[in-house]
Amino acid sequence: MKEWQRFILIFIYCFVVQFLIIENIKVGFWFHPFIYLFFLLYLPPDIPKWLSVFLFFLVGLFFDIFFNSYGIHASACTFLGLIKPFVSIGNVNVAPAREEEKGSWLNKGKRRFKLIFLFSFILIHSFWVLMLESLGHDFISVIIPTWLGSTLVTFVLLRISEELFYRTFRTSK
């Protein structure tokens, strides 16, 4: 399977899981996972910075339409798109997300970096979205529990999705 085909498949997977499953089962008031980050954070780290900002914005805007949250996800994703290349730039050659051909982060001893990378980006994204949604109201009683709960659930779902996807790709190769 070609790389671009794989990303289209991941995008469709994110959309279906987010809107046909997660948005319908109502995981809980304090847990609102954003599975579409799977598509964004697993994009190759060696894409140009401007393309990263552009792609992240487009994806955020696309999901905004379906969340009815005009602009909130686009804003958060654009920020992630700006900082992601700076964080992953040193790992371009050794850790292109999870590209089995070039060697995964696991193989290169980058497991800890990858987990911190994923967790911190989800943390930043959730915080940005929640703050923009509520403008800081009920920070202690609502935003912080929702922020941490959503981040944890999103992180777990991303790791599960990664295992499902890349194991499938590995076996189908």
Binding site: K49, V53, Y70, G71, I72, S75, F79, G81
Partner: protein
Amino acid sequence: MGSVLQFIKTYLHLILFVIFQVFAITLVVRFHAFHKIFFFNTSNTVTGNIKSFFNQINEYRNLRDVNRSLVNENIYLRRFLKENFYIQTKDTFFVNDTLYKQHYVYIPASVIGNSVDKENNFITLNKGELSGIEKGMGVFGPEGIVGVVEDVSDNFSLVMSLLNSKAIISPKINELNLSQGKLVWGNRSPYYAYLLGINRYEKVKPGQLVVTSPYSKNFPENIAIGIVEDVQEIDGSFLKAKVRLSTSFSQLREVYVVKDLFKEELNNINNQIESQN
């Protein structure tokens, strides 16, 4: 040219980031009512503070005009003092003070932002909800009517000036005791407004004083609006009068906001009548 292109090429990601963020935040403010209110309240407060700062500087420059205006108003009001009147009758009157309930109170405020050259002009006042100002209250100055409060934040108010295409005032021609028609701005001059919808058989003439009508919802009766300068017949059945406004909008500094103490009671009874119909 080359260096500009090089700069854009180097910082394209940052430029795109700024553009996309502005676009996204604009969408947020545009499509979320809560964010819209928060944004406009914050921007009103910020711009109000900035205007307030510059206003403090301008106030010193305009103290002479303000004093002159206040002196004129004092002279006008002193004419109504009891000491200025002579009682000719020997009859004795008993006045029960409880009959005279206060109808209006006035909240003084300073103008910290003002425009006169747009199609829809607004005035910013340095007092808001915390001073008791509410949306819909009338505003007048030492020389006459000014406008109606359109929006309020905690510390500032936005007044729809009479120089606004949407402003409509209920007028009365003092000499004729005629409350008819409506007063609209209708042109781009800060000195004139037009009186429309008056029956052609009414004896409206240049030089007559136009004041607020007793039917006005925002103002007490008899606040000066202006003086009729020219009268024309429209469509053979109505008169159109050109009114020279008494307020010098470009020199406006101190104003009074009208608080109608019976407004709620009046609204309640009007609502009852409307619901019965």
